[in-house]
Symmetry: D2
Subunit: 369 residues, 4 copies
Amino acid sequence: MALKGKKKGILERLDGGEVVIGDGGYVMALERRGYVTAGHWTPEAAVEHPEAVRQLHREFLRAGADVMQTFTFYCSDDKLGISGRVGSISGQQINEAACDLAREVANEGGTLVAGAISQTPCYTDSTSEGKVKEIFKKQLDVFMQKDIDFFIAEFFQHVEEAEWAVQVLVSSGKPVGATLCISPEGDQNRVSPGDCAVRLAKAGASMVGVNCHLDPTCGLKTVRKMKDGLEAAGVKVHLMLQPLGFNTPECNHGGYLTLPEFPLALESRAMTRWDMHKYAREAYDLGIRYIGGCCGFEPYHIRALAEELAPERGFLPPGSEKHGLWGSALIGHQLPWVKEKANRKYWETLLPASGRPKCPSMAIPHESF
Amino acid sequence: MALKGKKKGILERLDGGEVVIGDGGYVMALERRGYVTAGHWTPEAAVEHPEAVRQLHREFLRAGADVMQTFTFYCSDDKLGISGRVGSISGQQINEAACDLAREVANEGGTLVAGAISQTPCYTDSTSEGKVKEIFKKQLDVFMQKDIDFFIAEFFQHVEEAEWAVQVLVSSGKPVGATLCISPEGDQNRVSPGDCAVRLAKAGASMVGVNCHLDPTCGLKTVRKMKDGLEAAGVKVHLMLQPLGFNTPECNHGGYLTLPEFPLALESRAMTRWDMHKYAREAYDLGIRYIGGCCGFEPYHIRALAEELAPERGFLPPGSEKHGLWGSALIGHQLPWVKEKANRKYWETLLPASGRPKCPSMAIPHESF
Amino acid sequence: MALKGKKKGILERLDGGEVVIGDGGYVMALERRGYVTAGHWTPEAAVEHPEAVRQLHREFLRAGADVMQTFTFYCSDDKLGISGRVGSISGQQINEAACDLAREVANEGGTLVAGAISQTPCYTDSTSEGKVKEIFKKQLDVFMQKDIDFFIAEFFQHVEEAEWAVQVLVSSGKPVGATLCISPEGDQNRVSPGDCAVRLAKAGASMVGVNCHLDPTCGLKTVRKMKDGLEAAGVKVHLMLQPLGFNTPECNHGGYLTLPEFPLALESRAMTRWDMHKYAREAYDLGIRYIGGCCGFEPYHIRALAEELAPERGFLPPGSEKHGLWGSALIGHQLPWVKEKANRKYWETLLPASGRPKCPSMAIPHESF
Amino acid sequence: MALKGKKKGILERLDGGEVVIGDGGYVMALERRGYVTAGHWTPEAAVEHPEAVRQLHREFLRAGADVMQTFTFYCSDDKLGISGRVGSISGQQINEAACDLAREVANEGGTLVAGAISQTPCYTDSTSEGKVKEIFKKQLDVFMQKDIDFFIAEFFQHVEEAEWAVQVLVSSGKPVGATLCISPEGDQNRVSPGDCAVRLAKAGASMVGVNCHLDPTCGLKTVRKMKDGLEAAGVKVHLMLQPLGFNTPECNHGGYLTLPEFPLALESRAMTRWDMHKYAREAYDLGIRYIGGCCGFEPYHIRALAEELAPERGFLPPGSEKHGLWGSALIGHQLPWVKEKANRKYWETLLPASGRPKCPSMAIPHESF
């Protein structure tokens, strides 16, 4: 994986028609590993337990991710303050540490580092453009000092706040991606996906799409509407998708936040690697070229994206050395009926059982907000 | 967590009435992290990617595990040879590296190191006591050189092979635990759980029980039968349980090996942390004092065991600093209906949905072997 | 229930704002009673086993139906011929016998008789307006001779054929209702529900709507679209709905014909009486005033419609003497926990289990035609 | 079906090795038809609506039942009094009318009439042998006057009360069958199925078994235990089974009375005709020769029993003229994928969906009594 010479930038790759594989969800994976608290989901582990964050970066790298997103979710000072979780650690310290970790691992594999910022409580409380932009500007300064490769503004429920973020970030001269956590119905104010996409593009984003909140099926629907909106407006940007790794077919506009299982009992909704093959293919077919994951995506889910799109990308990820495509490594199993599963058709058509006969297959979501 | 003076040994702890929390499942967790190949499940990552194994050890430590099991599953030369996965790496190298990793992390937390050995293909092929014992002896030598604290012979489908393993291991003078991967119907030859337990105790095991293959509910049934058998025979040993972290209510004698989802689509069967509270309590109530997990147990599952039994143990694990008991950290969530989930009753009574309406809740297992 | 004087006609009732309760599904109920063959579903039992047909009429009457539909489903000569089921019995004989049975029972309760005709194989084979109309004309002649009160043209997949039927039937001077078995996507040629409704109204139907093929939820969606289309076109007719009594949430355009369970294993999809309360209320709220059922509606389902709408109608059906509203008769049960079910909230919020853990909750329907 | 000469009696048939098909459940079928009130389930419809009872008898006859059970469930004076449902109608009137109806239809088909009596509230209240036997004696007198062919004492939760019933009934000189509504755990006092069967046989019953309360799978388990008990005791009687037509896999000792769905939302638990084929075959293979149904058995379920056992019995029931074996009549369907269902394998392996994704597959039963 050692790359000679200068790495290609994100836009160079996308403009050149490459498929870029994103990484998976850090906060939820690290919650399960014992380093993040569910609720505020703040990233102080970048300072407190760098080895855990570094290892997760490495696993996503090994799985085939072309980008290391800095572990800086909800890392604005206002959010950290509210969380009551960070003690004397400052937002700046976390952002710096997170940049260093992402860069360290990125360098091991020739991948890019994306500085990630997300929505702020300040927006909801004040809706003051000045205050909110100041918060983003402060984060931007750290990222610029650490020379990240590009930016991702993600997990925005209001397109307006995302626009502000993009406006701040593009001032850096670096490429900016922007993904909203919205449903096919649109953002929190029901601005349609098409209009959201056009506004983000006009604000300066080079990559536009959706992350978190809903499953791939639903995320694909929303991005399709974004695509249609962009085409209708004659605006050209790259499409991104980083959805949940959980099945949420019954979710309404409010996304998985409205599920009874959120956030501490989502296990039986987890998607398989085979579900990810399907998602990767459908995303590719829709024209999305930045394809990653969010909460629920573990390293092997990212590997499945890279394996599905290996024909297009021309190579398998390093982690595939410990994985047979479509279960082919099972050929060595001692039990004949397990051996027989070493093929694509088996896994592609399997309808996995939950082992929970007293549980429903769909929940009744909380009313959407 | 820094401990002064000499660590208490496993038997000292158990004889003193302490609850010992085991660690979780290494091979399946590392498969999902990209370091183990499903099928033969061999542990060469101890040599190839020590950082990944070390990190998982740390997470189990942080979750409250009192024991680091060496990452030496299926690490006998015959099995490694068949797997075709290890290239020029020898079993001895893996066993050594695994001992070092377990010891390194154990020292960070004052926990014990258990040298783990498991069933061999040699037994099935030859059923030669001499040959099989020789294989165990070879592993024993490495473990003794590395001065592990005690032994666990685990994942044996035939009580006879487990007896041989125990006989070899007790020759070391170290305490030996022995767990079978059997159903309430007994071992592969339908030797009853009660008889199995008595035989293992008579062979010299100080701790006897069940691991892998079936879910906690089923594991508890089998251990209950072991307990009855031991009592009937007037034999006294400690009870151990390290079951699957997957719901397998419909499994027959063959365990999860007979499920259509095994091994690459088990996601929707994954148990929640709340299921683990229930398991820990029931195991404790049954008199089991070595309570851990096997495949499917991620660090947060182990933490749930430690949290449930914190009143008995007198302390919470380090990882609980990033977790509110029974979801109490959700009190800080911005959404009112998520806030309301910050209580035990909510999570204890929740019936989580799978999000998979086209899938059944129980599979039709393959006929048992 | 004996009524003095002249019965009010169907339009008098609907124009006067009354709610008219339709009857349930004859062919499927009589299949289960042993008198109809699944497949061609022809009504020769009107001649062969009049007592069985009469009894089912009586049960629907007793359940509160205001209309007895003649048991003349698929009773055109071309369909009867293809079925190979009727031997020497002619279509005319069946139509006559069916009219007599409906009239006999209608007279016991002061209800109306609706002569029912349905789609013909001739339409699919020839699409000859002349031939198809001739078939309808032949049925019309019998119905006129027997002096039925009004007509229902039902179970048409193509709006064109339904238009032809309406055109023939209105020539009689009797009121005509027309219901299509279509999805919200429209008829077989994807003519939209709104356009279908307008065309049927223009052809002369006084009541327009949907029957069979999909469940109440879906039927309500389609009728809502019909209503919108009618309003947009400024056309005024009454709305009708007689949906399936089976849950079919996953069905596509092809309706329950595309389900794996169709037609001989639909049991676990059967709706409860409580589901019917919900349906009746929603249909009423949408402005539908002819509310009945089709396949899967047993007498107690019709009774539930009449019970839900008793406040609007001003009376309970005769069959309610053997039924407590919302389970109130359970107050007399000897078991305390059954007694406690004698209330609306219990039944309204119950999520009934299937007792079939190896079965999915949604099937994969056959591709739509 | 007209039979010449004297009908063979029940014991003549069973002793001769014939398979006797019982009829289905009257009270629940008639509740859905509008003639019985759920809760006390009393049979006053025999007097009030004889046509409805007669028609259901006919349908069971047509389905292949060899026995018409009198519609006299819970028809003891004490139960009728408590029910508050019968007004001025006396138990004697109902019993007489029910005998007449059963005889009338039996004569149409050459079948036998079984006088049916069931458990009394008097037993639970007084446990006075004298009083309880007096109640049975009073019913016996009507049955003897109407010259029924044999007796069935059914739906007894306590073997003691059933013994008393048998003792009274055998005094008539007619053959007596006795079925308990118990689980594999035994009767209400946990008298084992084996002991129950032996006691009933010793009391004079010639046929012994189980009815109602649990599904065929469970009923078969209980009868198997009865059989083992009888064999161990060296007692020879015929075995009977008339289970529920609902799937109740999760039920405990208390049977379907403990299900949340009991009694007014059991729809999705209903068994298919194909389930009944399986049940009939398993019952036959276990050596049961009186095979029928109870609550939930509609006429077509009984027909399925008769069709499955047609090879053994040598004939199909009359109702099969409207049914192709294993769906063969679907060969005439116009849709190609429905045509393809005209075979045994399709229906035998189908796993029918419920269409209810928000409902579980197993309920949590009320604690057993």
